[in-house]
Every structure is written in C-alpha cells, then in structure tokens.
C-alpha cells in the first residue's frame, strides 16, 4: 500500500489509540471500537463485525508482527467519512509476508487461520502493506454505513 492510499481528505478523526501488543489490552480496545461504531450509526450486527475485524487485526499483529513478545506498540486510528468508517492498525514490527495473513479454505476443518477470513468478509475494503515511513505494517479497513451503496 502506498502512502497516498492512506490519505483520507474527507475523513474526520474520531480517536487515535496507542497500546502495547498484549492480548490483555484487547478488551479495552474493543470497548473503544464498539463505542466508535455506534457513534457512526452502525447497527448491532455491523458494530459486532467491526469490533471482530479490529480484534483479529490486532491479534495478527500480536502473533505475527511482534511474535508474541508484547513489547511493541500498536496504533489504532479510527476515522469517519460521510459514507464510511475507516480503521487503521499500524505496528512497528518487521514486514509480515502477505502469505502469512492469507485467509484459509473454510472447507478444511482445523483450528486457527480464520482471522484474516473474518476481516475480509465483514469489512468492505482491506489494504495491507508497509507503513508510509517504511517501518512496520499497516492494515487499513473500511466499512460503509449504508451497505446497499
């Protein structure tokens, strides 16, 4: 993803969070995302789905970018534009190969590997790449307020 892809001229910042890449912090992060989604006017199912997507994205950072060390930061930017909510998850770990985050075939019954599948299926757009500064990874996701548009 290019730096230009992260420019969102018509979007307004709702909140910016910085927290350690630790699973124990996720309950707090989910509460913030839940409140932000409701503020944007999403119904309870869409709100649940947005919370799930952010949770899975942060889980990928904890497990893959920082490999469970828990000492790196995660940045979560939440923005709102007239027609959608935008969520951007940034880490400062080594590059994660996109293949690591590929969704798996659902026909195969095995534990694990569902996180990226959930993200791609509940959000309208997902863009993964290196951060504009060249350090870390960025996942930017958005969800339309009106799914029929």
């Amino acid at each position: 993803m290019s730096a230009a892809a992260l420019t969102l001229p018509d979007a307004e910042y709702l909140v910016e969070l910085r927290f350690p890449a630790q699973a124990s912090r996720m309950v707090l992060v989910r509460d913030v995302v839940r409140s932000a989604a409701r503020l944007c006017g999403f119904d309870e199912t869409a709100t649940h789905d947005i919370v799930l997507a952010v949770g899975e994205a942060c889980q990928n950072v904890i497990l893959h970018a920082y490999e469970g060390r828990g000492d790196g930061p995660i940045l979560l930017d939440i923005l709102e534009s007239p027609d959608r909510m935008i969520l951007r998850v940034t880490d400062f770990g080594p590059a994660v190969a996109p293949a690591v985050l590929q969704p798996r075939d659902l026909g195969e019954l095995r534990p694990g590997g569902l996180g990226t599948y959930f993200i791609q299926n509940v959000m309208d757009t997902t863009d993964f790449g290196r951060s504009p500064g060249g350090v870390g990874n960025v996942l930017q996701m958005s969800k339309k307020k009106d799914p029929s548009t």
């Binding site: 699973a23 124990s24 996720m26 309950v27 989910r30 199912t45 649940h48 789905d49 919370v51 799930l52 949770g55 899975e56 889980q59 904890i62 497990l63 659902l106 019954l109 095995r110 534990p111 694990g112 590997g113 569902l114 996180g115 599948y117 959930f118 299926n121 509940v122």
Partner: protein, 110 residues
C-alpha cells in the same frame, strides 16, 4: 462471570461466559480438552458468551476434533447471537451440532 463444568444425566455441560479472545482462549482450550478427556458427551453452553474471535473458535474446533477421535459427541447449546454470528461467518454452524437449549440437546441424544 466464570466458566463452569457440571455433570447432567451422564453428560458434561461446559458453560463458557464473557469475552473469549486471544487472552482467554488458552484457559478455555484447557477446560474444553480436559472435559473431552473424561469420555462423556460434552454440551458447550454459549448463552453467556458476549464475544468470541478466531482464537476462541479454534479452541472449540480442536475440542470437537478430539471428541470425534474419542468417539464422543460435542455440541453447542443456547448459542448467544454474538457467538452465532461468528460461527455463521466461519460456516461452522453446519459443522457443530447446535441446539436451542440443554433439553433439546439431551432429546437429540447428546
């Protein structure tokens, strides 16, 4: 709210509660696998689960696989709307036997 295990009519009812995420999945996994190892049919009550993600789902899938290997059943009962949404997204609502409540599960032979 805490997770509980009790025996009902020769089955184990495992009641999970709260938010099951990467932080809690290891303890849930241990509880489920310990229950499956008792070689009884296991009914997992998800009525009090308010959030579950891929790590929680992975624990349930692993427990189901262990139950199948041991020749016992593992089913889900009273699945909360939040948990059901995730099972549907993963298309696991067709893989797990899901019953509206414990009586329905017992009547179905679980």
């Amino acid at each position: 709210m805490s997770d509980t295990v009790r025996e009902v009519n020769g089955n184990l009812v495992v009641r999970l509660a709260g938010e099951i995420d990467l932080d809690r999945a290891p303890e849930v996994r241990r509880l489920l696998l310990d229950s499956v190892k008792r070689s009884l049919d296991v009914l997992v009550d998800l009525s009090a689960v308010t959030y579950i993600d891929s790590s929680g789902i992975a624990s349930l899938v692993e427990a189901l696989q262990w139950a199948k290997r041991r020749g016992t059943d593992l089913c889900l009962i009273a699945v909360s709307p939040e948990a059901l949404r995730v099972f549907e997204l993963a298309r696991l609502d067709k893989v797990f036997a899901i019953h509206p409540d414990m009586n329905a599960a017992l009547a179905a032979g679980n």
